[in-house]
């Protein structure tokens, strides 16, 4: 067997104090480094035991709905080759709980917070945005891309007309930078991307999970109670890179947060070259709690030898 198969040779002591060398700017907001956590894979109550979350570029929090949501029944997860599948169905304690507990704790800890907004209908999104409008959240991320709910979520992100209508309602409600999170489960992601931007998005984030499924061959039945789930993790990397590159080509100016399959500083860098201004780390944090911070540190070093890219990031300019 392979002893130490996973040893990180380029050892970085992530607990040592670090001066971040390469900040980025997303929709006018400066991140101390280009690496944040992806929504749904970060709970402050769990992560704070592992590292200082203020060291992250940003913290993306779990999708927030107007009232508490129960999500889907279990089992909610299965494994794919180099991936995981999830069907949480946006379980969360609701925006009031978020404003009373999660957000203050994160701000207290010094984190830059990207608050993820979920809804089953336009009215849901509006209620959440209304409450977040005057909050301490630094940016709002409108999740129109969850594949695990039957209403809202992906059904909006795959329909540019519905997306435009939603944005027309949300945009006037707040001055906070509004990021629209898009799904790869479309024929051409640049279509909803353009709709979002034309109707007020300050930035885009992509990708949310890819629709997938596993069956248990011992029983012949789906593993996840909800049957299908969303694929994330290393397997989806090329899908996310293509989404960012194509969107960057179609929309040269819009800030983009690249997400999908990032588990190393090198892969984060690949997203930056594809046109992202920042990245978020999702599934990798499930397999090692400190992954986002380690990736941020790896990327900070990789950018040392790429001054041109680093300068563009720091200025909030786009690459390519």
């Amino acid at each position: 067997m392979c002893a130490n198969r996973n040893v990180n040779d380029r050892h970085i002591n992530i607990y040592e104090a670090h001066e971040w060398k390469h900040p980025t700017k997303v929709a006018g907001i400066e991140w101390k480094n280009p690496v944040g956590t992806a929504s749904g894979t970060f709970q402050y109550a769990a992560v704070r035991w592992f590292y200082d979350v203020s060291q992250l570029g940003a913290v993306g929090t779990k999708g927030c709905s107007p009232v508490p949501w129960e999500g889907n029944p279990g089992p909610r997860t299965a494994e794919g080759p180099a991936s995981n599948l999830n069907a949480v169905g946006l379980q969360n304690p609701g925006v009031d709980h978020y404003l009373a507990h999660d957000l203050p704790a994160l701000k207290q800890a010094g984190a830059l917070v990207v608050a993820n907004v979920a809804g089953h209908c336009d009215d849901d999104y509006m209620q959440v945005v209304a409450k977040l409008a005057d909050s301490d959240a630094d940016m709002l991320e409108i999740n129109v891309s969850c594949p695990n709910v039957t209403h809202g979520g992906m059904s909006v992100g795959t329909d540019p007309v519905a997306l435009a209508a939603l944005m027309d309602k949300l945009r006037p409600m707040t001055d906070k930078p509004m990021v629209v999170k898009l799904t790869p489960n479309v024929t051409d992601i640049t279509v909803p991307a353009r709709a979002a931007v034309e109707h007020g998005a300050d930035a885009l984030s992509m990708i949310n999970t890819v629709l997938g499924m596993r069956l248990d061959i011992r029983t012949g039945e789906p593993i996840i109670a909800n049957k299908t789930g969303g694929v994330s993790g290393p397997a989806v990397l090329p899908i996310g890179i293509a989404a960012v590159y194509r969107t960057r080509t179609a929309l040269p100016e819009i800030p983009i947060i690249g997400i999908g399959g990032i588990d190393s500083g090198e892969k984060a860098l690949e997203y930056l070259y594809a046109g992202a201004n920042a990245v978020e780390v999702g599934a990798a944090a499930l397999f090692d709690p400190v992954a986002p911070l380690r990736i941020a540190r790896e990327l900070d070093d990789l950018l040392d030898s790429r001054p041109e890219l680093a300068a563009k990031l720091a200025a909030g300019k786009t690459w390519r």
Binding site: M1, C2, A3, N4, R5, N6, V7, N8, D9, R10, H11, N13, I14, Y15, G40, T41, F42, Q43, A45, A46, V47, W49, F50, Y51, K62, P68, E70, G71, P73, G74, P75, R76, T77, A78, E79, P81, A82, S83, N84, N86, V88, Q91, I223, G233, P234, D263, S264, A283, A285, L286, F287, D288, P289, V290, A291, R294
Partner: protein, 275 residues
């Protein structure tokens, strides 16, 4: 290199020095043995887990296979100095690979995780285990053996081979086991009661249980009928094991809770069983 997780040997010390819980890291396997067909006991050296793990807490083990990135959670079954053991059934490709490890190999771990059994009261603990629910109860027996004021009665149901007798006999004050061909643990509990064994104890018993869902439900009902407290250790497919993904939920009277961090131990009242 591709999946370069934090896993140098000193990362635990670094984390602790900085005041944090250790992340995933690589430890040395010190012993692997087959207890029965497809049942393996694996021991690794990890001073941190050894000194912190409580019964029914678990560890995430990770395979060396990039196809299988997700954690494999296993209840701690014994701690000896700085060595930690788990006992697991080989049921899929992950456990297949873990079973192939040999002493001297490295394996990645995260833990200890979860909320274990509450053993604070001095009591007569009846440990009711089924199948691969037995291992965490061995560790409960080990910990209870350190407390003279408590008593540990083990009641184990196996599918076929009684694979853990050697270990439980080291720690339990009294143990009894049965396999599928002979009957089930509720039969044993009944015989225990009829034999006046329960009454003979000077304190009211507390049930600790871990095993298949139907067994645990039956045990919870048996306990409820007798008004005996029961702590039940649940299982659910997990994404992270440390409370960040909400993938491991179980339905409780308080809503959907996380097995990994609200549990794995829940009371029968929380689960609404036997009411």
């Amino acid at each position: 290199m591709t999946s370069s997780f934090t896993s140098t040997y000193d990362v635990v010390a670094e984390a602790q020095a900085a005041g944090y819980f250790p992340p995933r890291h690589t430890v040395e396997v010190t012993d692997v043995r087959e207890l029965a067909d497809h049942v393996v006991r694996l021991t690794f050296r990890d001073p941190f887990i050894a000194s912190h793990a409580k019964p029914a807490q678990f560890v995430n083990l990770f395979t060396h296979d990039d196809f299988m990135l997700m954690p494999r959670p296993f209840g701690v079954s014994e701690v000896e100095d700085d060595e930690v053991s788990v006992i697991f059934a080989v049921i899929g490709h992950g456990t297949e690979q873990l079973a192939e490890l040999e002493a001297g190999d490295g394996v990645d771990v995260l833990g200890p995780l979860g909320r274990g059994f509450d053993l604070k009261q001095d009591a007569n603990y009846i440990l009711v285990g089924g199948g691969l629910g037995v291992p965490p109860l061995i560790y409960a027996a080990q910990k209870l053996a350190e407390n003279d004021a408590s008593f540990a009665t083990a009641v184990f149901g196996y599918r076929d081979e009684h694979f853990a007798e050697e270990y439980v006999s080291r720690y339990a004050d009294w143990s009894w086991s049965i396999d599928n061909a002979e009957g089930n643990v509720v039969d044993l509990l009944n015989r225990l009661e009829q034999g006046d064994a329960l009454k003979a104890f000077d304190r009211k018993p507390i049930i600790l249980s871990c095993g298949p869902l139907p067994m645990m439900k039956a045990v919870a009902e048996w306990a409820a009928e007798r008004d005996i407290p029961a702590q039940l250790s649940m299982e659910q497919r997990m994404g992270c094991g440390y409370g960040t993904c909400v993938l491991c939920t179980v339905d409780t009277v308080d809503g959907r809770l996380k097995v990994c961090s609200d549990g794995p131990v829940f009371t029968r009242e929380q689960l609404g069983w036997g009411e």
